[in-house]
Symmetry: C2
Subunit: 351 residues, 2 copies
C-alpha cells in the first residue's frame, strides 16, 4: 500500500522502484492512481477517459465480430515483442482473419504482487504502440492483483470488436477441393524466439518473433480480391499443422502441402533441428494462412508480396477431396507423410 | 496429456477424476476436446458453434457499450455463487448500469495445471445458467493453461458488449446538488460471504453472496423513469464508500448519506463488528446505486421495490454542493463522519 494520503494530494507512483501490491487491486485510492498514472497515461483515448463502468461507443456499421484471447506468455519480454504487443496483435489478428475491421479492444490485467511497476509500464507502453499501429483503441479495462506465487508477473486478456462489411462470409468450413493454400511468410519464428529466450539457448543468431498486426494485409487482400478468398486463419498455438487440420475438419476436406514451398528461416530450422521440434507445430503471431480459388493464386500472391508482412508469401499446397480429412505433406525427399496435430502441448505458454 | 489417440476416436474427457494439464492449453487435440466436451457442451449457442477465431454477430441497433472484468475470487465457490456466476454477472452489471441492454459476452479462461475437471465443469455450468438468466450469450472464448503454482485454480476474464438506446446518457459526472441517492438493498453480503468462507469463520448464520444480474431491474427503471435518472453504479470492489467517492469526484459534488437508512443484514453487521470491518467498504455483486432528481424518489423506490432484487430499496442520502467533494455520513448517534475510500486493500480477491 502507498500509505495514507492527504485528500487532494498524493505522491506520484514510484515507477522506478515501485512494485505492484495487493492495494493496487483493491478498488481504492491506490488502484485509481495506478489506473490514472499508468494505464490512462499511456492508453488514453476519449472512450477510456469516460471513466465509467463501461465505455459508450458510436454505432458500428454492419455485422459485428467479437473475439478474445488470454495471454500468459513466459517470459514477458522476448525478441520482437512482449506480452503487451502480443495481447493487442493476437486479438486484432483474430478479427482481421474473419475479414473484419478491428475497432475496439478491452484489456483485463491480472497482476502478481511484486511485479515491478517499471515492467508494467514497459508492457502498457508496448500495448499503446501496438494499438496505435493497428488503428484500434483500448476503450475499457480492469485490473486485479493476486498474491505473490498465485500468478506469474502479468496475464492480459484482450477482447476485441470489429465490423464486417456486407457480403463477407469467411469461415473455416469454406475450403473446397481444388482450392489453393497460401501462406504469407516463414513459420516458427514466434515460438522459437520465446523458447530460445526462455531456455537461454545461446543460439548464435538471434531469432525474432514475427508478432505483428495483420489487419492492413487482410484488408488490402479483401478489398482487391475478396470474392476469391474462402477463408483466412492465423496459425498461432499448434502452428501451421493445427491450423490446417482445423480447416480440413471444418470444411470436410483433405489438404496436401509441399515441404519445399514452406518458408522456414535458417536459424529457426536449425533451432528446431537441435531441439527435435517440427516447425509445422511451432506458433506464429504474424502470419496468415489463406485458402482461395485456384485461379486467384497469382493475383493474391502478388498482392501479399506487395505488403511488408507478406514479402515471403508462397502457395504451399492445395485442398483435395478426402473423406478422412487428412493433412499430408510431400517432403523434400519426394515422399509423403501425415501432418497431424499434436495431442497436447509441445511448447507451453508461448502466447 | 490424454495420450495418443487414434484418428477419429478419442476417449471422452474424464470429468470425474480428470485434471487440467498443460496439454489442454496447447492448441492440439486435448484442447479441442476440452473446448468441445466441456465449454461448448454447456455454453453452446449458434455463435460459439461457428468455431472460428471470432464470432460473427448481427448488427446492433444504436450506440454500443463495452466493458470488461477479470475475476480472481478466492475461494472459487462460495455461498450464493462461484467464480463462474460472478464472471457473467459482473460484466452484465457493468453494462446494465450504463443503461445498456447486455447482448454478448466473451470469456477468457486461465487455468492452473491440476485443476479438477469436475470443478471446471461446475463453474462452466454456473456461467451457462447465469448467462441464460441474464439473456446474454457467451459468443467466443479462449483457454490457456499455466503450470501448477503459476496461477490459482482458475481466473476468468469476461468482456461484454451491449446496445444503448438513443437519448440515454448515464455517466458518473451526472450528479447535481439536490439529487437523491438510492440503494437497491443491503450492503456487504458478497464480501462477507467470501470472507466467512475463506477464513472458516464458523459464523452461526450463513451469509450468502448477493451475486446477481441487475439488467432486468435497470431496464425496468430506465423504461419507466429514465429521464429522472442521472447515473447508476454497482458498488463492487471498495464497497459503497468507494462508489460514492467516485461519483462525488466525477460530478464535482459532495454527498451526504444517513447511516440508519442504509440496509445491512444483521449477520453481516455482526461479522463486520467481529472483524473490525466497515460494511461501507465491503464489496457487493448485486446491488445498485442510483442518483436521481429529488422529485422522482418515490416513483423510483416503488419501481425498485416491485422487483425481487430491489425489495429492500431505500433512499440513503442526497447530493450537495461541496468544492472538496466530500462524502459524509450522519450516524445513528446523530453525529457526522467522513466516508473515505480506503487507500489500498481491505479484502483481497473478493471478485
Amino acid at each position: 500500500m502507498s500509505g495514507t494520503v492527504k485528500p487532494g494530494y498524493a505522491r506520484p507512483l514510484d515507477l522506478k522502484r515501485g512494485r505492484v501490491d495487493l492495494g493496487h487491486g483493491g478498488g481504492g485510492r491506490a488502484m485509481q492512481q495506478l489506473v490514472r498514472e499508468l494505464f490512462h497515461a499511456h492508453l488514453g483515448n476519449p472512450w477510456l477517459a469516460q471513466g465509467n463502468d463501461g465505455s459508450v461507443l458510436p454505432p458500428a456499421v454492419g455485422r459485428l465480430v467479437m473475439s478474445t484471447d488470454s495471454h500468459v506468455v513466459s517470459p514477458l519480454f522476448f525478441p520482437g515483442g512482449d506480452i503487451g504487443s502480443l495481447a493487442v496483435n493476437g486479438t486484432v489478428n483474430d478479427l482481421a482473419v474473419m475479414g473484419a475491421k478491428p475497432l475496439w479492444l478491452s484489456a483485463g490485467f491480472i497482476l502478481e504482487e511484486g511485479l515491478p511497476l517499471l515492467d508494467l509500464e514497459r508492457i502498457v507502453t508496448s500495448m499503446a504502440a501496438a494499438a496505435r499501429n493497428a488503428g484500434v483503441a483500448i476503450v475499457t479495462g480492469d485490473t486485479k492483483v493476486v498474491e505473490h506465487g498465485k500468478g506469474d508477473g502479468v496475464f492480459i486478456t484482450t477482447a476485441g470488436v470489429g465490423s464486417l462489411d456486407d457480403g463477407i462470409a469467411l469461415s473455416g468450413d469454406g475450403a473446397i477441393p481444388g482450392d489453393a493454400v497460401l501462406l504469407s511468410g516463414s513459420i516458427g519464428d514466434h515460438g522459437m524466439a520465446i523458447l530460445a529466450q526462455r531456455e537461454g539457448l545461446g543460439l548464435e543468431t538471434s531469432i525474432v518473433s514475427d508478432c505483428a498486426s495483420l489487419h492492413m494485409l487482410t484488408a488490402s487482400l479483401m478489398k482487391r480480391l475478396g470474392p476469391s478468398i474462402r477463408l483466412m486463419r492465423d496459425p498461432t498455438r499448434g502452428g501451421l499443422a493445427a491450423t490446417l487440420n482445423e480447416i480440413a475438419h471444418q470444411s470436410g476436406v483433405g489438404i496436401e502441402i509441399d515441404e519445399p514451398a514452406i518458408p522456414v528461416h535458417a536459424p529457426v530450422a536449425a533451432a528446431c533441428e537441435l531441439l527435435g521440434l517440427d516447425p509445422l507445430n511451432v506458433a506464429n503471431e504474424g502470419k496468415l494462412v489463406l485458402v482461395c480459388a485456384a485461379e486467384a493464386v497469382d493475383a493474391l500472391l502478388a498482392e501479399m508480396r506487395a505488403h511488408p508482412l507478406g514479402s515471403e508469401a508462397a502457395c504451399i499446397g492445395r485442398v483435395r477431396e478426402d473423406a478422412r480429412h487428412f493433412v499430408q505433406m510431400r517432403t523434400r525427399l519426394g515422399g509423403r507423410r501425415m501432418v497431424d496435430w499434436l495431442s497436447g502441448e509441445q511448447l507451453p505458454r508461448i502466447c
